[in-house]
């Protein structure tokens, strides 16, 4: 029952997003070509229909037996709090690389992330962080000559 309810919710979201995509986003963000047989909007429309119809079928297929007994589907934000924190921190990390430079941002981020994932020995985490970032820097920047733009500290 829990899975069926989840499918109902997710199928509905997909259906709504597909309608928005088909009627608003595609006409607005794809410039149509006059007098052509199949224009640039053709394929995105086909793909959107696939997703939209799929969403609709998911909704329809989840309706039978929806009222049965069993665990109910509910979105519990606490259950996903770890993922949300990691998602936001990952976005911030990329912004921090731009601002502080790769080395400083990565040293701070990796140390905090090790803690976040449950590694609680501080001295070991410091050694891992410094050694790992040094290796990554040497391999990618010195070895493969990938240039990270310098941060505000100049490296």
């Amino acid at each position: 029952m829990k899975e069926k309810q989840g499918n109902l919710v997710f199928g509905s979201i997909l259906l709504i997003l597909s309608i928005i995509m088909f009627f608003i986003i595609i006409p607005k963000y794809i410039s149509l070509k006059a007098g052509v047989i199949v224009g640039p909007e053709f394929f995105p429309k086909v793909a959107t229909i696939v997703v939209g119809l799929g969403g609709l079928l998911l909704v329809i297929s989840s309706i039978p037996g929806l009222k049965g007994a069993g665990e109910k589907f509910e979105f519990n934000i606490k259950e996903h709090s770890g993922q949300i924190i990691f998602f936001v921190s990952a976005l911030l990390y990329v912004s921090a690389i731009k601002l502080l430079g790769f080395i400083i941002a990565s040293l701070i981020y990796l140390f905090l992330t090790l803690w976040f994932f449950g590694a609680r020995k501080i001295s070991r985490n410091i050694i891992i962080t410094i050694a790992y970032i040094a290796v990554v820097y040497l391999v990618f920047v010195k070895g493969l000559r990938i240039s990270f733009p310098p941060g505000i500290l100049g490296f």
């Binding site: 989840g6 499918n7 997710f10 997909l14 995509m21 986003i25 595609i26 963000y29 794809i30 410039s31 070509k33 052509v36 047989i37 199949v38 224009g39 640039p40 909007e41 053709f42 394929f43 995105p44 793909a47 959107t48 696939v50 997703v51 799929g54 969403g55 079928l57 998911l58 297929s61 770890g82 993922q83 990691f86 998602f87 990952a90 976005l91 990390y93 990329v94 690389i97 731009k98 990565s106 981020y109 990796l110 992330t113 090790l114 976040f116 994932f117 449950g118 590694a119 609680r120 891992i128 790992y132 970032i133 990554v136 391999v139 990618f140 493969l144 000559r145 990938i146 240039s147 990270f148």
Partner: protein, 500 residues
Amino acid sequence: MNIGSILLEFTNVSVLIAIILGTVAGIIGGALPGISPSMTITLILPVTLYMEPIIAIAVLMSAYQGSMFGGSISAILINAPGTASAAATLLDGYPMASRGESKKALQTALYSSCVGGLIGTVILLFSAKMLAKVALKFGPPEYFGLMLLSFTLIAGISGTSMLKGTISGGIGLIIASIGMDPIYGSRRLSFGSLNLSSGIASLSVFIGIFALSEIFMQISDRGKGLDKVPEIYEGSESGLTLKEFLGQKWNLLTSGIIGSLVGILPGVGASTASFMAYAETRRRSKYPEKFGEGIIDGIVAAEAANNAVCSGALVPMLTLGIPGDTVTAILVGALITHGISPGPMLFVENIGAVYRVYIALFFGLVALSIIGSFGVPIFSKIIKIKKSILLPCVFVICIVGTYASRTNYFDCYVMIILGMLGYILRKQKFPLSPLVIAYIIGGSLEANLRRTIIMGEGGLGIFATKPLALFLIVVSIVMTVIMVRNNMKLKAKQEQATSN
């Protein structure tokens, strides 16, 4: 360009080092539970972008073979297959390790992987060129038929959730259509962003969907098992004897052939091949009751088959340009980045690249046998790394790798967002491979369909005048129907088993 001069290229020290490093990286990636072969190749891919094509091919092919074997290390030692394809290996590998025969089990897995891989490479060598000759007669309608056929593999890899696999594929097609229109060159779905005008970087998709979504999934285990060291059975000194191994010659041969043939079929995969070979060996065995209790026959069958799949899956990839599985989908992207476009024309325009792939596979197997022989005791220590340390380190590599592909931070943001999308889809039990495969073939599928429609002046009647294209479309439909039927039967069986 003859094969002799290409063979000479492989005697270059840098190429040989690349093969060794690729094999080691593959074994390590495969051995770590949660790091699949596709994730291993994805994480290695950014590094290869800055290499010469021959070195990149050497690294990728040897890593591919290495990762297939690597999966067996954790399957045998900790009862957790590092890769899905090693799931059949643990049936006999782990009981052997539990009896203190881990060394013998690992050696059996290693040498069976090498022999299986060799059988697959020989089959690739003989079948690829023939298939490519046929494919040379292809025009846009035939290519569309071919792309449609490869699209049906989504049905095969979706398992019991066909509908979810199709939706996942649809999402992949939408992602593929972001950027320049392949026919008229106009911008699509770029929302005014210059970064999106050139489309979504393939590495953002691969890393986000596979690697990052896996990290998101594992976050749920924080505070439970992430900071624990996996328990390993330390083995005795008795190893595999030559007599024992030679006693498995027919098992090696049949399992290798099964693996190669299954690999050629799009969408079936290494795990199916290893279970098929395992079942066949058990069926032919004089002592089927001993399977699952820890005998080398089971390990030989599973490992020979899953390594033979590597070469088998390269047949449709190289000759037709269609990926047979997720790893080859990523390899297609990697080769294109190096200016090598898989497909029938590759055999005409760049036969050297084809030879390089063959030779890299062969050298990769030689490296695997040598490195594996000496390195198994060391590699088995690597799986002791705690996930609480491994996952943050993998994430930093994800960021650096994504940035490195186009030296653009925007790709990193996209990768993170796609990682979250992958996590949401996985939580809702959507398979992710259809998304990536649809993303890879979406561009060709669209371009060839639209060219065909333009050739037919707006109608689809042109297919009636192209028998090969029509044949491919009919085969696609038939294959889809068969796969849907099989999946429905499997689902019914699963539901029956659950209700019982």
